[in-house]
């Protein structure tokens, strides 16, 4: 469960709040869509969950962990319980699809046997089993995002944060990625927080939608409607 209690965040000397007095509860296994204009506070909300940003007021919980209290040395362990994907994929160009995913396991000290057993499974989950040896430059945007998703999931996080993952993709690939996220949510029971601008997608998937404007939640509804 993710819980925001009266959370306020301001960047530097700026007058407006990035996040203002937000109260929010996301249950385990939920699929939540965050919508709002640029600067509405979607990314800040995610950064407060990852611990990259600290609240000015209020508390953020991930399960029993109070993210505000995490010390610098506790941060890596906290981040291992999260998977994160971005608009720009953040894949290593010099590594193949397989190696990009394996990299996330290698640095956590997983042995080669486990890596060689698990990576193909996740490549298949994201539908990229046949492209294990391709480099990012040999893949389409949608395929790259699938690899990024597999990498984010390989260490089996409880929560997947998707920060505008379809922002760089065409309509066809955007649908592809959204369907994949829905499948992951359904099959792996991973909690997914999906920030997007894509009205069509939001209106079609029929999930809980949280609308943000100027750092405030202006609407939190289960009707699956993109309304700002």
């Amino acid at each position: 469960m993710i819980l925001f209690k009266n959370v306020t965040k301001k960047y530097g000397e700026e007058e407006s709040f990035a996040i203002e007095n937000i109260n929010l509860k996301i249950e385990d296994g939920e699929f939540v869509v965050l919508v709002g204009q640029s600067g509405a506070g979607k990314s800040t909300l995610m950064r407060l969950i990852t611990g990259e940003q600290k609240t000015d007021k209020g508390e953020v919980f991930l399960g029993k962990t109070r993210v505000n209290d995490l010390r610098y040395v506790d941060m890596p362990k906290h981040r291992r319980s999260l998977g994160i994907i971005f608009q720009d994929f953040k894949l290593l160009p010099s590594k193949t699809a397989f190696e990009n995913i394996a990299f996330a396991m290698e640095i956590l000290g997983k042995d080669n046997l486990e890596i060689s057993r698990k990576v193909p499974r996740f490549l298949n989950i994201v539908g990229m089993g046949a492209k294990a040896n391709k480099f990012p430059s040999q893949m389409s945007g949608g395929e790259r995002q699938r690899i990024a998703i597999a990498r984010a999931l390989i260490n089996e996080p409880k929560v997947l944060l998707a920060d505008e993952p379809t922002g760089n993709l065409d309509v066809f690939n955007s649908w592809d990625i959204v369907n994949l996220l829905l499948k992951i949510n359904e099959q792996l029971k991973t909690t997914i927080i999906f920030a997007t601008h894509n009205k069509e997608v939001v209106n079609s998937i029929n999930k809980r939608v949280i609308s943000l404007d100027k750092g405030k939640i202006i609407r939190d509804s289960l009707d699956g409607k993109y309304i700002i």
């Binding site: 040395v73 319980s81 953040k90 996330a104 290698e106 640095i107 000290g109 984010a152």
Partner: protein, 309 residues
């Protein structure tokens, strides 16, 4: 524990990879490290050669105090006790008139005219002599001054020959040369070490830059501080280790080439190549310690400055 060992193994593996990734930069960094550590090793050798030369000359230097004629044995013993109490006196040796005569005859046994001229004299012309050796060359002047200012100057001492000796000048000159060499050596090493730190720092900074994507992803998937920083730390160690072994090899070759010339110039000095061989563990140990401190130190400065995990 598994994660601990895998972090170490991974750091070593990626440390070597970092070294190879910017190979020309790594060669340049290792070269300046080699130069610095070679300077350090060469300085140690030069220091040893000059110390040997100084010790060789010092061993032959003493103050000879010629005593007045007709002194009682008790007066001589009293004087010897006094000399031994002077600060810096290491040992004294009394040469009686007879011993001095015998020594003279032995020295000039192949020159009968000199021996004959001695026989013309009615009595033994050599005075009783007390030779004094000091703990170090710095003490000779003060011992001589103390003797000449003492009450024994009038009653016991006929003459001291320290002022006349050219050894003092040689020692002074050699001491000056050693001091200047030491100062120049230390200054050169400090300058080279500073350059080595700056170049290593820059190399690590550039490596960090070329790995920025990997670092960002590592951070995202929850790699710990030591997992991210480890390879750059190892890279710093590698500069020190490679620098040490290459510089020791060069030092050995250079010393081998100059060894014969040095030993023929400075009698009493240990052969430099022999010194390097005998003290190889010590020299490598010191070079390795300094190399690793410089390499790791520079890495840590760059990591802490540019790697915000």
């Amino acid at each position: 524990m598994d994660l601990f060992f895998s972090t170490i193994i991974r750091s070593i593996k990626y440390g070597f990879q970092n070294f190879g990734r910017n190979i020309f930069l790594s060669i340049a960094t290792t070269s300046i490290m080699v130069l610095t550590l070679f300077g350090l090793g060469f300085f140690m050798v030069i220091n040893q050669i000059s110390s040997d030369a100084l010790s060789g000359i010092q061993a032959r230097v003493d103050i000879s105090v010629y005593l007045k004629e007709g002194l009682e044995e008790s007066q001589v013993n009293d004087f010897i006790s006094y000399v031994k109490s002077i600060e810096g006196v290491k040992e004294t040796n009394l040469i009686t008139k007879e011993m001095a005569l015998e020594k003279f005859k032995e020295t000039y046994k192949d020159n009968p005219s000199i021996i004959q001229s001695l026989q013309v004299l009615d009595e033994n012309p050599f005075p009783v002599t007390l030779t004094i050796k000091a703990e170090s060359s710095d003490f000779y002047q003060s011992i001589n001054d103390t003797l000449l200012a003492s009450e024994y100057k009038e009653s016991t001492i006929q003459e001291t020959d320290y002022q006349k000796s050219t050894s003092k000048e040689i020692i002074d000159r050699l001491n000056n040369v050693i001091k200047v060499t030491r100062n120049v050596g230390i200054s050169v090493i400090v300058v080279l070490a500073t350059i080595a730190v700056l170049i290593t720092y820059n190399t690590i900074r550039l490596t960090l830059y070329s790995y920025r994507q990997e670092i960002e992803i590592m951070r995202l998937v929850g790699a710990s501080d030591s997992q991210i920083k480890g390879p750059f730390f190892v890279e710093g160690v590698l500069f020190g280790v490679f620098g040490t072994f290459i510089s020791f090899l060069i030092l050995f070759v250079v010393v081998l080439l100059i060894s014969q010339t040095i030993t023929s110039f400075i009698s009493g000095a240990q052969s430099p190549s022999e010194y390097v061989l005998n003290k190889s563990f010590l020299i490598i140990g010191i070079q390795l310690t300094v190399g690793i401190i410089l390499g790791v130190g520079s890495s840590l400065i760059a990591i802490n400055r540019y790697l915000k995990v």
